[in-house]
């Protein structure tokens, strides 16, 4: 058992190594997360400086809610999709999957090693964005109220959950399709276009309860930002999140086991 755990730990470390050493990719992901925060905050700072009566400070609790939307619903998940797709199909794209299979190591183990490594990279990237955003929230609060430590901790947990779910879904989708570009296009299209539209589509009724974005917005802590929310029980929300975390990864694991190497 301890030998298995050692091997598992090393396999996860190896996945982490190959993800973090892809420096251009990591830089892109960081830019995707941090640049919108910097641009939005910078824009607000300039507006507030030019006309304080019409435009409030760039920080404070209200802007903190926008920061959470950015990191938990929009650009954070984009980063999670990029990282998950790389983790799920990077070895196939490089042609290394066959060589990994030739070690005799179980394909399920090869798949499972991708998950914690990708989550670790995703959470790290989101954490960097969150730290930058929280710093801006306090630095540019002016006279506005700022989030409490409790809200910040709840927000951090929610961001970790939201982006972990998306990352795991992306790993599953990429492992299932074997295509990074296809997975990235499909999931970013879903995250940024289709899913927000469906969440707002009241004609779908209770079917919207199955939408990940809707559930994550329902679970989001802190101030409301006007983003559409779906009302449901916490238990139902947990079931929906668990379903998203299981279905695609299970399909990805199955495809990894059966894929022609």
């Amino acid at each position: 058992m301890s030998v298995d755990l050692t091997v598992a730990r090393r396999m996860i470390w190896a996945e982490l190594l190959r993800l973090r050493k892809k420096r251009g990719f990591i830089a892109l992901v960081l830019v995707a997360v941090i640049a919108p925060i910097v641009i939005a905050t910078g824009y607000d700072v300039i507006q507030h400086a030019s006309n304080p009566a019409a435009h409030g400070p760039a920080g404070g609790l209200h802007n903190y809610g926008r920061l959470l939307d950015m990191l938990g619903i929009f650009m954070g998940p984009v980063a999670a999709v990029l990282i998950g797709a790389e983790a799920g199909a990077g070895d196939l794209a490089a042609g290394v999957f066959r060589d990994n299979v030739l070690t005799g190591r179980s394909r399920t183990a090869l798949f499972l090693a991708r998950v914690p490594a990708a989550i670790a990279v995703t959470v790290t990237v989101i954490a960097i964005g969150f730290v930058v955003g929280v710093a801006a929230t306090f630095a540019f609060a002016g006279g506005l109220p700022t989030p409490s430590a409790t809200v910040i901790l709840q927000s951090a947990a929610w961001l970790a959950l939201a982006n972990t779910v998306v990352c795991v879904v992306a790993i599953g989708a990429a492992s299932l399709t074997g295509s990074r570009p296809g997975t990235i296009t499909a999931l970013i299209g879903w995250e940024l276009v289709l899913s927000p539209l469906l969440v707002q589509s009241t004609t779908l009724g209770s079917m919207r309860h199955g939408l990940l974005d809707g559930v994550l917005l329902f679970l989001k802590p802190g101030p409301a930002t006007g983003a559409p929310t779906i009302t449901m029980s916490v238990a139902a929300a947990v079931v929906v999140v668990a379903a998203w975390m299981l279905v695609l990864p299970l399909l990805g694991a199955w495809r990894t086991r059966t894929r022609d190497a």
């Binding site: 470390w13 990077g90 290394v96 030739l102 090869l110």
Partner: protein
């Protein structure tokens, strides 16, 4: 035949299971077949690859070499027949067998943005066991110690091939399976690879199974070979056996070629006879008649200065066999 090729002697045979296991062929297939719909890529192939040799698996592109290797490594299932690798049935005991095998199928692939060493670290992490501790040794073994810290994207094909072999050696394998290891290499790279394979066999006692369409390289590198054509093994044995002409062609040099021609033309054991550049070449009805031919010439006063079996290249033999099959088809 295998004894001459370094197979274990009877004295080595002990009662322990491990030693018995070590004496089993490195690869053994019986009636191995792979069909893709109507097309049969590998057809009823039975091979025995002895331990401690460089074994060439020779055939044209598309002859079924890679498909057979993929079956041996459990990458694809066979349609019929069975295979054992290091005495273990595959795919049933695939994981156990592959733990003792290093393989490159088609061409070695790496993460181009990682260094050679980092790629090996990743492979070692997946391999487990003592693979991590072997990284420095295998890097030295393949002569990449000066470039192991460079990104693989900057490596030449020859260096990637060597890094691929290094990755294979991480598990200290008893058997290496190299699919077309000479492909795309320049002459210096081919020479390096050939030397490395010979050292792996002769110095380290490993078995190396090489698939190739480069006949000359197989002849220079391997001890034993099988020839595959359109999915079927049409010949297998030592290189010497494969290149030997069953019709027993002889080359004779003597002081009086014209007189020898007249004498041998009347000999009923001679099937074909011709003079080429001052030497006589003949094929005999029976291969054991060379001594009698010599006696006849010497008895007739012809001084024989050279008499030896004609050795044809593996390439000539390969083409002869495959052409014969094409005509028959």
């Amino acid at each position: 035949m295998w004894a001459a090729l370094g197979a274990p002697t009877l004295a080595c045979m002990q009662n322990t299971t491990a030693i018995q296991d070590h004496q089993r062929p490195a690869v053994e297939t019986v009636g191995l077949t792979k069909r893709f719909n109507e097309r049969t890529a590998v057809d009823d192939v039975s091979l025995v690859v002895p331990r401690g040799v460089a074994y060439g698996f020779l055939g044209h592109n598309g002859a079924g070499k890679t498909t057979l290797i993929r079956m041996l490594l459990g990458l694809t299932r066979s349609s019929a027949g069975s295979a054992k690798v290091l005495g273990l049935p595959v795919p049933a005991s695939r994981a156990e067998a592959l733990a003792r095998v290093g393989a490159i199928v088609e061409e070695p692939s790496f993460y181009p943005y990682l260094t050679g060493r980092e790629n090996l670290e990743i492979a070692a992490a997946i391999r487990g066991g003592g693979a991590r501790k072997r990284i420095d040794g295998v890097v030295r073994r393949v002569g990449l110690e000066k470039r192991a810290g460079d990104r693989v994207g900057t490596f030449s094909l020859g260096m990637r091939q060597r890094l691929g072999v290094a990755r294979c050696l991480l598990s200290d394998p008893e058997l290496l399976i190299l699919d077309e290891p000479m492909n795309g290499l320049d002459p210096a790279g081919m020479l390096d690879t050939r030397r490395m394979i010979r050292e792996l066999v002769e110095d380290e006692g490993r078995t190396v199974f090489i698939s190739s369409h480069l006949l000359d390289e197989v002849e220079k590198t391997c001890d034993v070979a099988a020839i595959i054509d359109r999915g079927r093994v049409i010949a297998q044995g030592s290189i010497d056996e494969l290149v030997a002409d069953r019709a027993a062609e002889l080359v004779i040099e003597c002081d009086d070629v014209e007189r020898a021609l007249v004498l041998l033309a009347q000999d009923h054991t001679v099937r074909e006879l011709r003079s080429e550049h001052g030497t006589l070449r003949m094929s005999l009805i029976a291969p054991d008649q060379a001594g009698a031919i010599n006696s006849r010439l010497v008895g007739a006063g012809v001084v024989v200065t050279r008499l030896e079996p004609a050795r044809r290249s593996l390439e000539e033999r390969f083409l002869e066999m495959t052409t014969r099959l094409e005509v028959a088809a």
